[in-house]
Amino acid sequence: MSKYTPLRWNKTKLSFLIEKRTLWIIAALLVLCATLVVISTGIGSKYVSPLEVIQSIAGKGSSMNEVIIMKLRLPRILIAVLVGASLAVAGAVLQGIIRNPLASPDVTGITEGASLGTVLFVFFLSEKVSIQWAPLAAIGGAFVVTALLYLLSWKNGASPLRMILIGTGLSAAFKSISYMFIISGSFILANKSMIFMTGSIYGSSWEKDVSTLLPWVLILLPLTWIQSRHVNVQALGDDVAASAGANVQLHRLILLLLSVALAGAAVAIGGAITFIGLMAPHIARKLVGSSFGGLLPVSALLGALILLISDLIARTLFAPLDIPAGVFTAAIGVPFFLYLLYRNRNA
């Protein structure tokens, strides 16, 4: 068992078993993420070298670089990291508690609920209320879908199978309602909503976006991580979890709410970016296995990486056109999704 390092502080009774390989993978992904942040911050209509990017971030760059890096590009890059990580963790939690490899915020309807919330806001309130309140509408939408999901799949407890079936139905229903508004509305409102529904982090700012999303992520990620052992035990099935002494329904509800809060906040800021919540946890599982303590940080980092790369492609490939990043997460995601379906064809 030399592959594992027990961590124990006897006075505080703190003890964990850490897999060394997982630690190395997390470290490698952190470095990769940081490198990509620096490089992609430098790429754009004006190229800035990685060294200058670091100087600017440290507050020692030229004043022109400072504006480009700090004001224009870095907020958007950080939002990519935060949104990607949140969606990935939301997906990892859902796949754990619903025990279905196809579960993710977009498949269970959480993303679509958040989208509809925003579309309704754009159509009915955007002329009266500041757009700053849109995230609240998105999160509200996400929670409404979750409440419906729970109500409809409840029968002596919420069973994973019913949740995935009803979630798929709700997802389709909410998406059609969103499209109904878009088709019947004015061109400008429809365009605004479409961009949101594809998922774009264009024009992210410190004040409006980073400062809104960062506290959510900083609170929700650790809160989710300390629930790891509940996810692990639930993954063995409701009967096993219950006879191991877990309060299965209570933990499932708490974890679902955490997942919805993460996905809702991410969609509120980044729009309905799909496939990251599905893909990132799957890749993470291939790297570190399904033990949630390691799966969560690895999923988060992979989610951040995927959105960083997608957004980099989206804003450079057809420059000066800025395409919503969601187009590319889907472009990477669809082949992967088909591959998963193909692999599970006999299951």
Binding site: K13, A235, L236, S243, A244, G245, A246, S290
Partner: protein, 263 residues
């Protein structure tokens, strides 16, 4: 030591009563096997004993106190259940699975204490899984997989272990292997083992106490040699048979009549 008993138990499933006024005491430190035809309610009884089903009336008592009012973790330190055909998540290793048995002893800060480590090692050792701790459970053979799951319930360090058809889906060699292991655990540590088995002959060999269940009631119970007669099998399984003596252990062994051509 813990005494598990059902008192005046009634369990309903979707409005239909599976059991009514059932009384049963599980002998302490012994191997008890539930037998009965499909749908007779033996799994339901086992699940009720593990508190996975809520009684409509009556109660399950552990050492005289009602298990439905016990804290989940307290109960999980005294009684564990291995359900039928459990499924492991993709890529989960044997060690990670066995570690889950420590759930009732852990908190979010304390997840790998020295006691946890000892219990997990002991469970892996008792099931002979030492060489396979790093293998993923889904890559193992059926028999090894069942051993890994039994190791998980052992890590829970309970006096009572309930198993729902632990030999289903296993070939005969592995069935014997799993039952030998359970017998060994009972002999060595004096753990109370309660399980549902389909194979009456194996049940007779391994059980100290057999409970034959028919239509949601205990038809008869006692030592295999006392309760397994052609009449019992005919009433409980609606099967005509002869009962002979097992050539190796002398326990009852049934030979079904069937409708095959006569020689």
């Amino acid at each position: 030591m813990s005494i598990l008993e059902a008192k005046n138990l009634a369990v309903s499933y979707g409005g239909v009563f599976i059991f009514d006024h059932l009384n049963l005491e599980i002998p302490e430190g012994k191997i008890t096997v539930f037998i009965g035809s499909n749908g007779c309610g033996k799994s339901t009884l086992l699940r009720s004993l593990a508190r996975l089903l809520k009684p409509a009336q009556g109660e399950i008592q552990l050492d005289g106190s009602n298990i439905s009012s016990m804290p989940s973790k307290t109960l999980a330190k005294q009684l564990s259940l291995l359900p039928q055909g459990p499924v492991t998540p993709e890529g989960l290793t044997v060690l990670q699975l066995v570690k889950q048995g420590r759930y009732p002893y852990q908190s979010w800060l304390q997840q790998w204490s020295k006691e946890d480590e000892q219990a997990v090692h002991a469970a892996i050792h008792a099931t002979g899984m030492e060489a396979l701790t790093e293998r993923s459970v889904d890559s193992l053979s059926g028999g090894q997989r069942q051993r890994a799951w039994i190791a998980m319930t052992l890590a829970q360090q309970t006096d009572i272990i309930l198993l729902d058809e632990p030999t289903t889906y296993l070939d005969l060699t592995h069935q014997i292997d799993v039952l030998d292991l359970l017998h060994e655990l009972n002999e060595r540590d004096g753990r109370t083992i309660v399980m549902v088995l389909h194979d009456i002959n194996l049940a007779c060999r391994y059980a100290d106490h057999i409970v034959a269940i028919q239509d949601g009631a205990v038809y008869t119970q006692g030592r295999p040699s006392d309760v397994i007669h052609p009449e019992t099998i005919e009433s409980v399984f609606r099967l005509k048979c002869q009962v002979i003596s097992d050539p190796i252990y002398g326990t009852p062994m049934i030979v079904p009549q069937g409708k095959l051509r006569k020689k």
